[in-house]
């Protein structure tokens, strides 16, 4: 059964009346985060608190309440995640230089000796990757990447050298180019929009999947060091 209203002419009055409360919520969340950053003394705390500020930003964007706002939340979220990834790595390397000590990349308090890690990884990883391929896009990439991550974490053979790492990262770069081609096809040859859609969806799928997989490779390196 299809709906009576597909696209309204104007934004519905419910959303309009919710706008001011939503903006106020966003501002209050932002101010709480900022005040906390202004008061604290620890660098790690500051890094974590910036995430609260990021949540405030997401609320401000979401308050608009259109499909466009929904689509532009995603870049905002990804920018936050990307920056926290890079900056936390810098913080770790700085602390190591200061103290002259080495630390594990992924410090796990529990030992990863579970039976499921030796019996099931291939099966579970396969299911996750196939399901990810069906989903495609960002979500699919994350699911399939989870599968690869699980697989490499559970197979504890001697790790790959850094050159192999660069090789896998290169595949991710090629997927990025594929995806750029898909984006250009949309505008240069609009009649092949279906091809472009699939190039974009699967380019981004491969890219995200390999990123998550690479994190798994680092993690395995750390385990096999012991």
């Amino acid at each position: 059964m299809s709906a009576s209203v597909l696209v309204p002419g104007v934004v519905s009055p419910v959303v309009v009346s919710l706008f001011v409360p939503a903006i106020f919520t966003g501002l209050i969340v932002g101010i709480i985060g900022l005040m906390a950053i202004a008061y604290q003394k620890n660098d790690l705390n500051a890094l974590i608190l910036t995430d609260i500020v990021g949540v405030g930003m997401l609320i401000l964007v979401a308050a608009v309440g259109t499909d466009l706002a929904e689509a532009i939340i995603l870049p905002g979220l990804v920018v936050e995640l990307a920056e926290i990834l890079a900056i936390s790595e810098i913080l770790m390397s700085r602390e190591m230089k200061k103290k002259g000590k080495n630390a594990e990349l992924i410090p796990l308090p529990l030992s990863m000796d579970m039976e499921i890690m030796t019996t099931a990884p291939t099966f579970l990883a396969l299911i996750l990757i196939v399901h990810g391929a069906f989903l495609s896009g960002f979500t699919g990439g994350a699911v399939a990447g989870g599968g690869i991550l699980f697989y490499v974490l559970s197979k504890r053979m001697r790790g790959v050298p850094a050159n192999t790492w660069e090789g896998i990262a290169g595949v991710s770069g090629i997927a990025w180019c594929l995806w750029l081609v898909g984006f250009l096809v949309f505008f240069v040859f609009p009649q092949y929009w279906l091809l472009a859609l699939f190039l974009a969806a699967f380019g981004i799928f491969i890219k995200v999947a390999f990123k998550a997989g690479l994190i798994g490779v680092i993690g395995r390196e750390e385990f096999s060091k012991k």
């Binding site: 903006i23 900022l34 950053i37 500020v53 964007v61 706002a69 870049p75 920018v79 920056e83 900056i87």
Partner: protein
């Protein structure tokens, strides 16, 4: 589309769906000069710093090793391209994303050094850049909510409201944080002490040009004249 922006006749535009890159004389000039500078950087080599040793007559050379050189050159080229893109984009949200790209690449260019002080400065700069995403995207969202569009070519014809002024103020303080201009320059000044000169210059150039561009955008939104 036959329109003028800030008294400049548009020379042309590149439509990419809703995002339209527009070519006005000022933007085109800044675009071309960024690309020229990026090319110079791409073909140049790093300098070698000489540190005088205390108590001896020997000097110590601070060199950049090859892998460090490669990653820095790569990030510097990306930074140049992102700056060039930010000069001609005609979409507010697209502009904020370009600024974020410049910010993260700037952090990366200095993250490869070994001095603890410089790493500390890079970390603090990264924190400011992360906080700055709130005013950047929040400001763009305010302007979207108030006008119903984020295309600069449409905003130029709309009357200014208080909400748009507030949004553009947020946008400005976001760009100020992300590019590290005064009074938030201390984190960046520290970053310049690292060896590897021509690549560091792109950080300067990008923040300079982005500030010029954001002032143009503020004029488009607020229409003071």
């Amino acid at each position: 589309m036959d329109i003028t922006i800030l008294g400049q006749q548009l020379l042309g535009y590149i439509p990419l769906g809703d995002i339209v890159l527009y070519l006005a004389p000022l933007n085109l000039f800044m675009f071309a000069s960024t690309l020229a500078f990026t090319t110079i950087i791409a073909i140049s080599k790093t300098e070698t710093q000489v540190e005088a040793g205390f108590g001896t007559l020997k000097d110590r050379e601070v060199k950049v090793d090859k892998s460090e050189f490669k990653i820095r050159r790569f990030l510097a080229i990306v930074c140049g391209l992102a700056t060039a893109g930010a000069m001609i984009t005609g979409d507010l949200f697209n502009f904020t994303l370009f600024v974020c790209l410049i910010g993260i690449v700037n952090i990366g260019i200095v993250a490869a050094v070994k001095q603890v002080d410089v790493l500390d400065a890079a970390f603090q700069y990264g924190l400011v850049a992360m906080i700055a995403t709130l005013p950047l995207f929040g400001g763009a969202a305010m302007i979207l909510a108030s006008t119903g569009t984020i295309s600069l070519l449409e905003i130029v014809d709309l009357p200014t409201t208080f909400m748009m002024v507030f949004g553009s103020l947020l946008l400005f303080i976001g760009v100020a944080g992300e590019t590290g201009v005064a009074p938030f320059y201390a984190t960046k000044a520290e970053m310049f002490r690292t060896p590897g000169s021509p690549f560091l210059l792109i950080i300067h150039l990008s923040s300079l040009l982005v500030i010029v561009r954001v002032i143009e955008i503020l004029l488009i939104i607020n229409k003071p004249f």
